[in-house]
Amino acid sequence: MQNDLLYIGIFMLISLFIPGIAITIAGLLGPKKPAPIKNSVYECGIETVGETWVQFKAQYYVYALIFLVFDVETIFLYPWAVAYNILTIWAVFEMVLFVIILLGGVLFAWQKGALEWQ
């Protein structure tokens, strides 16, 4: 398994390396004429008014949190799925219980209207 992980590590480095080299080459090839108008931040063609801060809706955080809960849930389910072929029907019912508890949470979120986009 170490060889496989070594290959993955090498591949990750190379897959970050090649775009980096390409961007460096393109940086060398292109013209460099910085001008104040070109470098200013784009805002529909007008100058930036006020400081750059963003009105952040709480809805993003709720989606990210529900995603986190489902992510952890599927992480628990993957070893169960790998061992599925040698498990009994009672093990399947344990998993069903696990999923139903979490689906109850989603139902609660649905009723409270937390899943609507604003």
Binding site: I8, I14, K33, D71, T88
Partner: protein, 412 residues
């Protein structure tokens, strides 16, 4: 099977390794060098493939929309992507004021890199794969997360309110659709008994699209949404938030976001073919590895073409429709499919493949019918919109002119 024609790539690999050993290098170094060369070839190959994919996409898009597509540069426009590449390589990099240099430059690299990393675990033939990782399926999900991080870096590193807002919406969409994707991938893992992509291909004596069609459908839909293509391309539409999170990028950096997008589409088609269509399985693929590669490419092309048709035919979703589709339909559906498939697969008599396939197909059919019923009921309650034109007052001296109530065929 060492004949060159049956297995050209394996033959070349063995020749290369024996060449290195003939030079007297120690075994570990031979392994390392062969890994580096292999990784370089695979990564570069996938990037070069994108050039061809750009042409395919524009040509097919043109034909679907009843026009020709690029046909000026070279025969059938084949040189067009190369011309585009040369142009984009020589454009100036305009960095906005106040952008965080490291973060701003890292974002496109991370975005493209995360897509190329998927190619390391895909099995192309019976003995042609990058890495035989025993957690291949989860590795694919993990590098998807790295791509999302790249989008956040792009949005924040641009020092632009609109880029940041676009990045948030993009990440919200990607996070949401990752849940049904990961949940639907549980079913092939369950049926094959392993997360190793090689094992999943080997376990498909009957392709998993037959045994778990709903899981395949959910994976297909959520992979289109993960990719950010139509009908889920709200984030890069021209009428929306000014091109989204990559508004401050120019030249090749912007080009790389595009390259990542196109390569991701092909890579997801490749994964669908590996996981649900049986990968390199086919007649005589066991003994002649190059045939397995050919089968895989044919299956991938079919799925990719299907994705292109979906892209050029369907109108765009609004963001609240997208989120409602995900959290109210796809997530409960994928979990329900998982539970029912698990229960009925255990209840079916073991050892008999035909009975297992029939039971699973029936289960999926029942779930599909229930879904149709549920969706019909959900839409029946919504009041139909009625388009009624009210009486329009005349602009000048209207007291004596009678008002004209305009009822027309739109009232239904």
């Amino acid at each position: 099977m060492n004949s060159f024609w049956a297995d050209p790539i394996g033959f070349v690999i063995l020749w290369f390794i024996s060449l290195l050993q003939g030079w007297g290098l120690p075994g570990d170094l031979v392994l390392l060098i062969s890994y580096v060369v292999g990784a370089l070839l695979l990564a570069t190959g996938s990037l070069l493939l994108v050039i061809f994919l750009i042409w395919v996409e524009r040509k097919i898009g043109g034909r679907v929309q009843d026009r020709l597509g690029p046909n000026r540069v070279g025969p059938y426009g084949l040189i067009q992507p190369i011309a585009d590449m040369l142009k984009i390589f020589t454009k100036e990099f305009i960095t906005p004021d106040g952008a965080d240099k490291l973060v701003y430059n890292l974002a496109p690299i991370l975005s493209v890199g995360s897509v190329i990393m998927i190619w390391a675990v895909v099995p192309f033939a019976i003995n042609l794969y990058g890495s035989n990782l025993n957690v291949g399926v989860l590795y694919i999900v993990a590098v998807g997360g790295l791509g999302e991080l790249g989008i956040i870096l792009a949005g924040w590193g641009s020092n632009n309110k609109f880029a940041l807002l676009g990045a948030f919406r993009a990440v919200a969409q990607l996070l949401s659709y990752e849940v049904p994707m990961v949940a639907s991938l549980l079913i092939p893992v369950m049926l094959a008994g392993s997360m190793n992509l090689n094992e999943i291909v080997r376990a498909q004596t009957v392709p998993f699209i037959v045994m778990a069609p709903i899981a395949a459908l959910i994976f297909f839909i959520s992979s289109i949404a993960e990719n950010g293509r139509a009908p889920f391309d709200l984030l890069e539409a021209e009428s929306e938030i000014v091109a989204g999170f990559n508004v401050e990028y120019s030249g090749l950096k912007f080009g790389f976001f595009f390259v990542g997008d196109f390569l991701h589409a092909f890579t997801l088609a490749l994964l669908f073919a590996v996981i649900f269509l049986g990968g390199w399985n086919g007649p005589a693929a066991d003994s002649i590895p190059i045939l397995g590669f050919v089968y895989l490419m044919i299956k991938t092309t079919i799925v990719y073409f299907l994705g292109l048709l979906v892209r050029f035919s369907l109108p765009r979703f609004r963001i609240d429709q997208m989120m409602a589709l995900n959290w109210k339909v796809l997530v409960p559906l994928s979990l329900a499919t998982l539970m029912l498939t698990a229960i009925f697969d255990k209840l079916a008599p073991a050892g008999n493949l035909l009975v297992q396939v029939i039971v699973l197909v029936l289960v999926n059919l029942i779930i599909w019918l229930l879904l149709q019923e549920f969706l019909a009921r959900a839409f029946r309650d919504k009041p139909q919109r009625r388009a009624v034109l009210h009486s329009r007052p005349q602009a000048d001296a209207a007291e004596d002119a009678p008002a004209q109530p305009q009822t027309d065929a739109m009232q239904s």
